[in-house]
């Protein structure tokens, strides 16, 4: 299939590479021209702008930072689109923003699918991302062969915006999950108990989670390299809290967690992995690290 791919960051680059490996004919565009080079070397065509990335293609995929970026590139895509184009955004943005972008593109005759992912850089490279999609059946079906190159657990969640709702729910779970593991390990340490043994014991029971397994180990190793940067988790939790505010939805746990992530960014841990929240707990409780 002929596919345009916009946004070649940590996630976008390996995702686009997997499309090329899957035998698709890919045009790429990124704001910084040098980030297109590795893809061109792998056989992609370098597009001039988002409109050019859409031109002649059946599918366009964006993987950028935030809602205003998505809106901007999709306006370009609409200019270059030919009839029947399906546009897919795989960035994490607010469900409301995704619905608005979908409505705008619909007026230009473009079918829009929001399809954020979970699984991080590792999943993007391995082509094992979880993909949660919102949009029409036809749009989801059209994007199917591309999704199959990038991910494993591919779910059509519902109508436009539903993919972003699922992703926000994912960030509630992972945000609170990381904080829960950090609190459990801080609790063990302050009681003079070996956190490694506690983790090992808990892995066999109902507190088992992938976060306890992976993030817990990295906390014990005090390896705060990202992974998933705190400031990005903070951005995602802000989407959750804004949506809860608009809907009149009470989320006390997410609210408390979001404040810890505010503090991460404000105290200079924004570029570290989310697990650096452990350091904030230690500081507040007078624990030396």
């Amino acid at each position: 299939m002929k596919i345009g791919f916009i946004g070649l960051g940590i996630m976008g680059r390996p995702m686009a590479l997997n499309l090329i490996k899957g035998g698709h004919e890919v045009s790429v565009w990124a704001r910084r021209a040098e980030s297109m080079q590795p893809l061109v070397a792998a056989g992609a065509r370098a597009a001039l702008d988002p409109a050019d990335a859409a031109k002649g293609n059946e599918l366009v995929i964006s993987m950028v930072a935030d809602a205003p970026d998505v809106a901007e590139v999709m306006r370009g895509v609409a200019r270059g689109a030919e009839p029947g184009l399906v546009a897919v955004d795989m960035s994490t943005i607010a469900p409301g923003a995704a619905r608005r972008i979908g409505e705008e593109l619909a007026t230009a005759g473009i079918d829009f699918v929001d399809a954020p992912v979970s699984g991080g850089e590792v999943g993007a490279v391995a082509g094992t991302l979880s993909i949660m999609a919102g949009g029409s059946e036809a749009g989801f079906a059209k994007a199917g062969p591309a999704f199959a190159c990038m991910g494993k657990n591919i779910i059509h969640v519902g109508a436009s915006g539903a993919g972003q709702v699922a992703k926000a729910a994912n960030q509630i779970m992972t945000g609170m999950g990381v904080l829960a593991v950090a609190e459990a390990l801080a609790f063990a340490a302050k009681n003079g108990v070996d956190g490694g043994k506690v983790r090992e014991a808990l892995l066999g029971g109902f507190a088992y989670s992938r976060i306890l397994e992976n993030h817990g180990q990295r906390m014990l190793d005090r390896n705060f390299k990202p992974g998933f940067k705190s400031w990005m988790h903070e951005k995602d939790l802000n989407i959750v809290m804004q949506t809860a505010h608009e809907l009149g939805l009470c989320l006390p746990g997410s609210a408390a967690t979001a404040q810890m992530f505010n503090a991460m960014v404000g105290s200079g841990h924004g570029e570290e992995d989310s697990i650096a929240v452990l350091k904030l707990l230690e500081k507040l409780s007078g624990q030396s690290s």
Partner: protein, 284 residues
């Protein structure tokens, strides 16, 4: 002086009237012309037209978007006001939006003060509002005689946006205090103790506050009819938590109170008084 006033709600109307009674000529614009009623004022067709007549224009509307529309919109004040005239925005909006509007007006040589108020409808009627101003000191001095028609305590906080920061702090303390009063009333009732007596005793001690006095009394009487509608506090908490996020500052208590307000909105109590936070506690 010719003075414009936009936003003739519960707060704006008595404020406009005070200015008129102090001898100023009043011009108004209202989205719904009916809301002007018997106010002794010249009604203008657009904010721009109002701006052409007036040296100082007050705005007292609900949201950041409302202020942006009235000031910067197509037929906004910016299209009519003369150089060196002054916009005084008494609404409660986001500090960064206040700064942006001030900058846009500044490009046209129009001055702006953010001058949000505290004191509620009664404070507006009694002209006893607390006014927290952001903007140039010299501009504040120019309009201070007008502000003195509206309130007693007028404090220059700092540059544009600083007034809104102070107001955000005000709302945070006040609504957290309402939540604290609600929790105290809930604990007293759940313990089988007379809430009215508890409130009465506390009013004489270290926990005494205006919130306990006014909102506590409403809770005891279970009178949830609005003084200030809770939906406005809910809106303000959105601003507070967004400002906290932008500054990278954790506000754990404000975050929890914000969730209680979300629950209040979900019960459709947004047009009731914020004393309804007691009823949210009673849901669980």
């Amino acid at each position: 002086m010719k003075i414009g006033f936009i936003g003739l709600g519960v707060m704006g109307r008595p404020m406009a009237l005070h200015l008129q009674r102090a001898g100023h000529e009043l011009f108004v614009w209202a989205r719904r012309p009916a809301s002007v009623g018997d106010l002794p004022a010249t009604v203008c067709a657009t904010p721009a037209e109002l701006g052409r007549h007036c040296e100082v224009v007050f705005t007292m509307v609900t949201s950041s978007a409302d202020v942006e529309g009235v000031v910067l919109g197509e037929q906004g004040l910016i299209a009519g006001m003369a150089r060196d005239s002054v916009v005084v925005d008494c609404s409660t909006i986001a500090p960064d939006v206040a700064r942006r509007i001030a900058a846009k007006l500044g490009e046209q040589g129009i001055h702006m003060l953010d001058a949000p108020v505290s004191g509620g409808a009664q404070g507006a009627i009694d002209a006893t509002l607390a006014i927290m101003a952001g903007g140039e000191a010299a501009v504040l001095e120019r309009v201070r005689p007008l502000l003195e028609c509206l309130g007693q305590r007028i404090v220059h906080i700092g540059p544009n946006g600083a007034g809104q920061v102070a107001k955000a702090c005000n709302q945070m303390i006040m609504v957290a205090a309402i939540q604290a009063a609600a929790e105290a009333m809930r604990l007293a009732a759940a313990s089988g103790v007379d809430c009215g007596k508890v409130r009465e005793a506390l009013a004489g001690g270290s926990a005494a506050s205006r919130v306990l006095d006014v909102m506590g009394d409403r809770m005891v009487r279970r009178d949830f009819a609005a003084g200030i509608e809770a939906r406005l506090h809910h809106k303000d908490f959105g601003l507070v938590l967004e400002a906290a996020r932008q500054s990278g500052v954790p506000l754990p208590l404000a975050a929890v109170v914000g969730q209680q307000l979300n629950a209040l909105m979900a019960q459709d109590w947004g047009r009731d008084d914020t004393a309804s936070l007691l009823r949210v506690l009673e849901l669980l």
